[in-house]
């Protein structure tokens, strides 16, 4: 059912209410299913992958498949749980196989049912719900669970942690931690391996103070050598995470809930959350109870068979040739071999173990490791490049001219080539150092492409999460799919943990080219019209296309509309035609249809214009009255020096605007937003110029101007920068003697960039003129949704200066005219649509049955 969140613990990948499926069983004429019965115990990544591989080989006709899963959920990508914890991914986005998928493929999913034991003589599975299920072939994929080191006071009862203690293994663990993170301030994470560090970083991102307690002498000791671990520690500590090494947590301080922990050396740490990520252990109880041979894991042979000929084991619960794997790639290999065997596709298929290579990002640091991490014989070559200051530590181990191990920390640009050399034993360069760095003799990757993409063998795996090879990607490109996004959609490459996206992009570019380097679609202004911006603007002007539907009819392939192109075209047409543009409400994004910013619960925000952040008591009183009259759930001062009324019902918008009697502040559009100002010269002791008035004048002139992306400005009266002008799309700084500096291309959002100094001018009028020219140049030349902080470096500051300061292209008069046309076309949308709706039901609610607001009132 997804994210409506009515149920306390919704089933991940569950079915929408009211959907039912008609089953057409593959029965023969007698109504008897003659297929063999395949039972999979475990619905994690390994179990579900086996089922997928079996189905892919036509196994749906051979087997009636039943999958037991202890969790109630569909199958999800466990690797991504740390991203969910970090808030980077929504839990719905990590679903690999929803309940629907099982139903659609005729697989019976027994979700939320634990298997107790298997009677291997009678060939029956006994589950905790009392059912007995017969099988012909059985696969154990019970995975692993968190290892819980012994500590005093950890448990409240036999089976229940003290409140505030969490494992980190399942989506339910993750949900519980997310809920707790919102309420607590201090967390201790036990375990300084990959999972522990990811948990620590994620919790820190929720504002918690985090300390990591690690029993080993260096972080990630499974993967890194001590030097690498020391550098990682430095990087982690620079993020503000405290690390305690070579000590254990011996006691949890309670008694009602977690209050802190005590370390082996006697130190105590206050904490209200304790996360245990000290490694994993195979889950082997079912195998043990069933009399199947277990050592560390369930012992299997090269055909993944246990000591019972009809019982197999795969994944983290399986022990093959003494190895228990905890990575996804070996699990995929095992699933393929097992599916070959079960379906008879290759009756001689064998699994011979995996060479494990991993590439990941831990606590913001790129890490890639493969094979051994230090030399083992006197004759082994060992090359190390260590740059502690940059947090970079690179090493390779070479034996008999073959790569047997590599560790890359902080810089993983060489991982593609090294993985290939490691997997295939391909020849190594004589100059070993080129394994780790590109030397500055021009042989390096000055074109930004990794050396080695072309040389990668076709069957080398690019996406380890979804088992996509280079050949799969090349085939998809060859079949005509030439966008990176398209290839990712089709192959699922890069849709797991995402760490291979860069490599996928390189391979797509390599496979798609010849001479063409760029995917043509990337140069299109909007995805639905195959024209770059200059050609699109020329065609619109030449053919006099005044509306979005006219543009589609004239310029789109087959005249077809494209939903995702409409917003960009509306903006472009308004810029080109000004008041002559023929409006079409369906071509606008909802924000532009109703002149407010849509919120997560379908309500809107109302931000009246407060020019330069200067308001009056009368204005404030009116805003207060309106907020009370319409029971506005939240009134918030914005970062743009305005007042935001949040949680407003769509149907209330026109009346609110009318009561406010203030123009729109355009806090919702891809348009000119605000001009922040400091108090300038009127009151400030330090002010060198009247920044407040200049800010108001700028906003008065450019209010509501649409653009490829939002434009945020600021003016400050001295270089103390109280209104943050250095990090604005256009920032103006008074520097004394009547002079003003104009900065462009600054940013302080997801990207931080100090603006580039475009010019120093000597009057407010000159600031306004130059600002208008820059904004118009940006409007006419930037890509859709390209902010100035990307636009300015792309075009180059020198070129922009050449055009705007020296009229190097002779277009200044055109720029001024174009901007003036837009300024003349300005109307306050609140005054306009508030009186007479643009279309019937423009302000009708779109969610009539949902109680509003769903976002909690503070």
């Amino acid at each position: 059912m997804g994210g409506l969140g009515r149920v306390m613990n919704p089933v991940l990948g569950g079915r929408p209410e009211g959907v039912s499926t008609l089953h057409f069983a593959m029965d023969d004429a007698d109504g008897v299913d003659t297929r063999q019965r395949l039972v999979v115990v475990g619905n994690g990544m390994a179990g579900a992958r086996v089922v997928e591989e079996v189905l892919e080989r036509g196994g749906g006709d051979q087997f009636a498949i039943t999958v037991f899963g202890e969790e109630p959920h569909g199958n999800y990508n466990r690797i991504m749980l740390s991203h969910v914890l970090a808030g980077e991914e929504h839990e719905d986005d990590i679903v690999l196989n929803s309940h629907d998928w099982y139903a659609d493929n005729g697989v019976q999913l027994r979700a939320g049912v634990r298997v107790r034991r298997i009677d291997t003589h009678a060939k029956v599975v006994h589950a905790a719900d009392g059912t007995a299920t017969s099988y012909d072939q059985l696969v154990l994929a019970t995975g692993s669970r968190s290892f819980i080191p012994p500590m005093t006071g950890l448990y409240r009862s036999d089976d229940e942690f003290l409140p505030g203690v969490f494992g980190f293994r399942t989506i339910d663990d993750t949900r519980a931690m997310l809920a707790a993170a919102a309420e607590h301030e201090k967390a201790v994470v036990v375990g300084g391996g990959l999972l522990g560090l990811e948990a620590a970083r994620a919790l820190q991102g929720h504002g918690l103070q985090v300390e990591v307690v690690h029993a080993g002498t260096h972080l990630m000791n499974q993967q890194l050598d001590p030097d690498g671990g020391a550098i990682l520690k430095q990087s982690v500590e620079s993020l503000g995470i405290v690390v305690h090494l070579a000590t254990r947590t011996t006691e949890v301080i309670g008694p009602d809930r977690v209050r802190g922990v005590v370390l082996a050396d006697g130190r105590a740490i206050d904490a209200d959350m304790l996360v245990i990520a000290a490694g994993i252990r195979p889950v082997t109880e079912v195998a043990l109870m069933s009399g199947i041979e277990v050592e560390r894991g369930v012992v299997v042979d090269d055909q993944l068979r246990t000591d019972d000929p009809d019982v197999y084991a795969v994944g983290e619960c399986a022990q093959h040739r003494g190895e228990v794997y905890g990575l996804v790639a070996p699990v995929w290999e095992q699933a393929r071999v097992l599916a070959d065997l079960l379906t008879g596709t290759d009756p001689d298929a064998e699994y011979h173990g995996s060479r494990t290579a991993t590439k990941l990002k831990v606590a913001g640091v790129d890490v890639a490791t493969m094979g051994v991490n230090r030399p083992e014989r006197d004759t082994d070559e060992f090359l190390v490049i260590s740059e502690p200051r940059r947090g970079v530590h690179l090493s390779v181990v070479v034996r008999d001219d073959r790569l047997i191990g590599a560790t890359l920390l902080g810089d993983t640009r060489k991982v593609a080539f090294l993985t290939q050399a490691f997997d295939r034993g391909t020849p190594l360069p004589e100059e070993r150092i080129t394994l780790l760095v590109d030397l500055s003799d021009g042989a390096g990757s000055s074109d930004g492409r990794e050396p080695g993409v072309a040389e990668l063998p076709g069957d080398s795996q690019v996406c380890n999460c979804n088992g996509v090879s280079k050949q799969d990607i090349c085939d998809t490109v060859a079949s005509g799919c030439t966008t990176v996004g398209g290839v990712m959609d089709r192959t699922r490459a890069g849709k797991g943990c995402g760490s291979c996206k860069g490599l996928v992009k390189q391979i797509v570019e390599w496979a798609a080219d010849g001479d063409v380097v760029e995917d043509p679609a990337e140069s299109w202004y909007v995805p639905g019209i195959p024209l770059a911006k200059p050609a699109l603007m020329a065609a619109i002007r030449e053919q006099g296309l005044l509306s979005v539907s006219a543009v589609f009819a004239a310029l789109a392939p087959g005249g077809a509309e494209d939903a995702k192109s409409k917003m960009g075209l509306t903006s472009l047409l308004r810029m080109i035609w000004g008041a002559d543009h023929v409006q079409e409400n369906d071509a606008k994004f909802i924000n532009d249809r109703v002149h407010g910013n849509i919120q997560r619960d379908g309500t809107f925000s109302v931000v009246p214009q407060i020019k330069g952040g200067v308001t009056t008591p009368a204005q404030l009183r009116r805003i207060a009255d309106v907020a009370e009259k319409y029971e506005v759930p939240m009134v918030k001062i914005t970062g743009g020096q305005r007042i935001d009324l949040l949680g407003v019902r769509k149907e209330d918008l026109p009346a609110m605007w009318d009561d406010l009697g203030m123009p729109s502040g355009y806090a919702y559009g891809k348009s000119f937003r605000t001009v922040k100002t400091c108090v300038g010269t009127d009151f400030c002791r330090f002010g060198l110029g009247d920044s407040t008035q200049l800010g108001i004048d700028l906003e008065t002139r450019f209010q509501g101007i649409e653009s490829p992306a939002k434009m945020k400005l600021a003016v400050v009266g001295c270089p103390r920068n109280c209104a943050e002008a250095y990090v604005k799309d256009v920032g103006v700084v008074a520097v004394g003697n009547g002079k003003w500096e104009v900065y462009v291309g600054g940013a302080a959002g997801a990207t931080i960039r100090k603006g580039d100094l475009l010019a120093t001018v000597d009057s407010p009028a000159a600031v306004i003129e130059l600002t208008g020219r820059f904004l118009q140049y940006y409007r006419e030349n930037a890509n859709w949704l390209e902010r100035t902080y990307d636009f300015v470096p792309r075009v180059g500051l020198e070129r922009i200066k050449h055009v705007l300061l020296e009229d190097g292209e002779g277009i200044l008069a055109d720029l001024d005219e174009g901007m003036q046309r837009s300024i003349d076309a300005y109307t306050d949308p609140w005054g306009q649509d508030g009186r007479q709706p643009a279309t019937p039901g423009q302000f009708r609610t779109a969610l009539p049955l949902v109680d509003l607001p769903k976002v909690p009132v503070r």
Binding site: M1, G2, G3, L4, G5, G13, P16, G18, V19, S20, T21, L22, H90, D92, D93, V95, S98, D100, A103, D104, D489, K495, G528, S549, A560, E561, D562, A563, K564, K566, M567, E584, N585, D586, A587, F589, I590, N591, R593, I598, R600, D601, G602, T839, P840, G841, R844, T845, A846, L847, P848, L849, V850, K854
Partner: protein, 108 residues
Amino acid sequence: MSVVDQSTTTAHVVGRVDDVPLGEGRAFVAGGVQVAVFRLRDGSLHATQAACPHAGGPLADGQTDADVLVCPLHLFAYRWRDGASTSGAAPVRLFAVHEEDGQLVVDV
């Protein structure tokens, strides 16, 4: 895809065709169920569940073309043809909708 059992649906008049401007969507209640009804520029009518299966966004506020509906909150797209998401979300539920003497009739 799953086969939706349609044998038990009932027709509901939810409003007039003119209530839905060309190219836009509007939300209605049909037999106690929230539906979003869309009238595309080619004149065709479509109806879906009103809340996006991804995060509950108001689908009637979304943008459309001949192939897909795009939710306004996170831009997940759903195909008219079968309700499947082109962006990896759960599918959206579709309802049959047609015009009768200027009235919008939705089968729920």
